[in-house]
């Protein structure tokens, strides 16, 4: 179940060629690795194999069958690929797939652009730069459930939320009696969730991109300055190509994490109104613990894993080449 990309770089420098090592030496070297490796295989791989197995069963807890699944519960029949057919034809699940793509793509693109802007700003020296950076990472550190509740109640609330409060204050400043009252969460559910997540993920993007900017070789920038390249030219032709890998890495890692978003949906909209903001993780949760359709939930889970593996393959390739680049530096 793992999407392991073969690392491209050579490691000859560090590893003694296998054939020169004795059998005992090889096992002595493996010893310290084993506990972590065995633990990881047991805790991460077995559940996924079970998920695949369950995805081929008709299993609804409310109508338990006769057949026992590994002592974990009773299912009614083998389903073959029925659950997958349901996943791809059921409008609810298809809707969840669309919402997941919209949510993930919007959050990643917007927070990447904002993160790039902030990283470029923070790459120069200005008074209080260290403090500004510390303040900027705060949104990422606030507990995700706390920040979701904060956005829902303290910012979006139509009666006393800060956003409507600020609008009201602005309107009154210009002589109107009362500003507009907008119920953000029910009027614009998807943008409301996206905004809260963008706020949370922008610092993540900023940190990786800032690290990328600061790893630019100083002599190249110096040379550009001597050649009288303008700031825009330097950015376009030197910084941006150098930053490409870091942009890819933050976009891919961001996609993998945002794809799994559960807290924000659970807290801000409960997937609503209707199913307007139900993404795949939340839909799987509903299928599992509200409809008790274990087979369907497992099939949807497998679909999420396959989707993630596609993104992850690119991510692993990028990480691999970043290592190579940092190795050559």
């Amino acid at each position: 179940m793992s999407a392991t990309a073969p690392p491209a770089h050579s490691t000859d420098a560090l590893v003694a060629p296998a054939h020169t090592m004795s059998r005992g030496e090889r096992w002595r070297r493996r010893g310290p690795l084993m506990p972590a490796l065995v633990f990881t295989i047991i805790v991460t791989q077995i559940p996924f194999l079970l998920t695949i197995a369950i995805s081929t069963l008709h299993w609804n807890v409310l109508q338990p069958g006769e057949k026992n699944f590994l002592g974990l519960g009773n299912y009614s029949a083998f389903a073959g690929l029925d659950n997958y057919v349901t996943v791809f034809t059921d409008t609810r699940l298809r809707n969840a797939v669309v919402n997941t793509v919209v949510l993930t793509a919007s959050v990643v693109v917007i927070s990447l652009l904002l993160g790039l802007l902030l990283a470029v700003l923070l790459d120069k020296k200005f008074p209080g730069r260290g403090i500004a950076r510390t303040l900027l990472i705060a949104p990422f550190l606030v507990m995700p459930v706390a920040s979701a509740l904060l956005w829902k109640h303290a910012l979006y609330n139509p009666d006393y939320g800060l956003l409507n409060g600020a609008l009201n204050w602005l309107w009154q400043l210009f002589g109107a009696d009362q500003g507009p009252t907008i119920d953000f969460v029910s009027k614009f559910p998807m943008p409301a969730v996206i905004a809260a997540l963008v706020w949370q993920w922008t610092p993540f993007m900023m940190l990786i991109l800032l690290a990328g900017l600061q790893s630019q070789p100083g002599d190249v920038l110096e040379a550009a300055k001597i050649d009288r390249a303008s700031g825009a030219q330097t950015f376009r032709f030197i910084t941006l190509p150098h930053l490409r890998q870091y942009l890819e890495l933050s976009a891919l890692l961001g996609s993998i994490y945002v794809l799994q978003t559960f807290d924000a949906i659970y807290t801000i909209t409960q997937g609503g109104p209707g199913s307007a903001t139900t993404n795949l993780p939340y839909e799987i949760y509903l299928t599992m613990f509200r409809k008790y359709e274990y087979g369907e939930a497992a099939a949807a889970g497998v679909v999420v894993v396959v989707g993630t593996i596609i993104v992850a393959t690119f991510a692993l390739r990028t990480i691999s080449s970043l290592f190579q680049a940092e190795g050559n530096r």
Binding site: P7, R29, I137, N168, F262
Partner: protein, 303 residues
């Protein structure tokens, strides 16, 4: 506060002996000097955006210090009197139990992660096994599997063995969640340990545990601290497993927050106080580890 934010000068895959300590220092210095100084317009824009981003956090803390009545006005009463009553109310409602559960799950799992990750990282850097990069990428790939897809079998197994609503279930899950990050981080920190010292110790006949404790641990102490903080942050903030696998006894801090809303009447100020309390440990840990944060977040790919 240091302006040198990210240590980019150390290459994890290069053999340690080839690195002169002096080179690292000089390179870092040159880079620092290369950072251009911003003009006033640039500084202003940077600060306006920073404050805009920080505003919700500031608003959360400010609201937590207002009375419920002041917190529910429109337009907002920014300059209302301050009080600590909401914090008292939050502790009266028993947030302490949830905080203790969160602390247990986070700290015990972090210790377990370190106990597993440090020897593993040793076998992936100092005395590498064959195909060690494949092992590294195997660990990394497990981090990419969405936990929601594993929830159902985990729930069924945990129920079967009677470990629902048990904080040690969370400990095990958080350990597996953070182990790949820790292995990657510790691998890159251990690769920075000078090889000569290790060889000297071996010549003197020191065993593995002796080498780990007396030589590797002191040199990599800052790395171990950073790794622990990042594991702590991720476990402390975890919600999906906590909400689905605990009920009353083992619930962690985020569950307290979610349960808070069902209460009647005005609750915003108390909610903000609770949100501040539960976020504080991670804010402190994150600020303390901010120089190494990017290394953990990028799973070790960016130094």
């Amino acid at each position: 506060m240091s302006t040198e934010t990210v240590d980019t000068s150390v290459n994890p895959f290069a053999p340690a002996p080839e690195q002169e300590p002096g080179v690292t220092r000089r390179r870092r210095k040159a880079k620092d000097d290369a950072a251009a100084t911003a003009g006033p317009g640039w500084s202003l824009l940077a600060w306006v955006l920073t404050l805009l981003f920080f505003a919700p956090v500031a608003w959360m803390v400010l609201t937590s210090l207002h009375t419920e009545a002041d917190a529910a006005t429109n337009p907002p009463s920014i300059f209302a009197g301050l009080t600590l009553d909401n914090y008292a109310a939050v502790f009266d409602r028993g947030i302490a139990t949830f905080l203790i559960n969160s602390a247990t799950a986070s700290i015990v799992s972090t210790l377990l992660v370190l106990a597993l990750a440090i020897p593993a990282a040793y076998a992936l850097s100092i005395k590498p096994v064959e195909k060690w990069t494949d092992v590294m990428f195997f660990f990394l790939s497990t981090k990419f599997l969405p936990p929601i897809a594993a929830l159902l079998p985990i729930y069924l197994i945990v129920k079967q063995v009677g470990m629902l609503d048990n904080v040690y279930t969370l400990v095990l899950l958080y350990t597996s969640m953070n182990l790949p990050i820790a292995v990657w981080m510790m691998q890159s920190f251990l690769a920075e340990v000078p090889k000569e010292i290790l060889e000297a110790a071996q010549v003197d006949g020191a065993g593995l545990s002796r080498i780990l404790i007396s030589i590797v641990a002191p040199v990599t102490a800052p790395g171990i601290a950073a790794t622990s903080l990042i594991c702590f942050i991720f476990s402390w903030n975890e919600f999906m497993f906590a909400v689905n696998l605990t009920a009353t006894r083992a619930s962690t801090a985020p569950i307290f927050l979610v349960g808070f809303i069902s209460s009647q009447g005005l609750f915003l100020a108390k909610l903000c106080a609770a949100a501040t309390v539960v976020s504080l440990p991670v804010l402190i840990a994150g600020f303390a580890a901010q120089d190494k944060l990017v290394r953990g977040l990028s799973l070790g790919a960016v130094k």
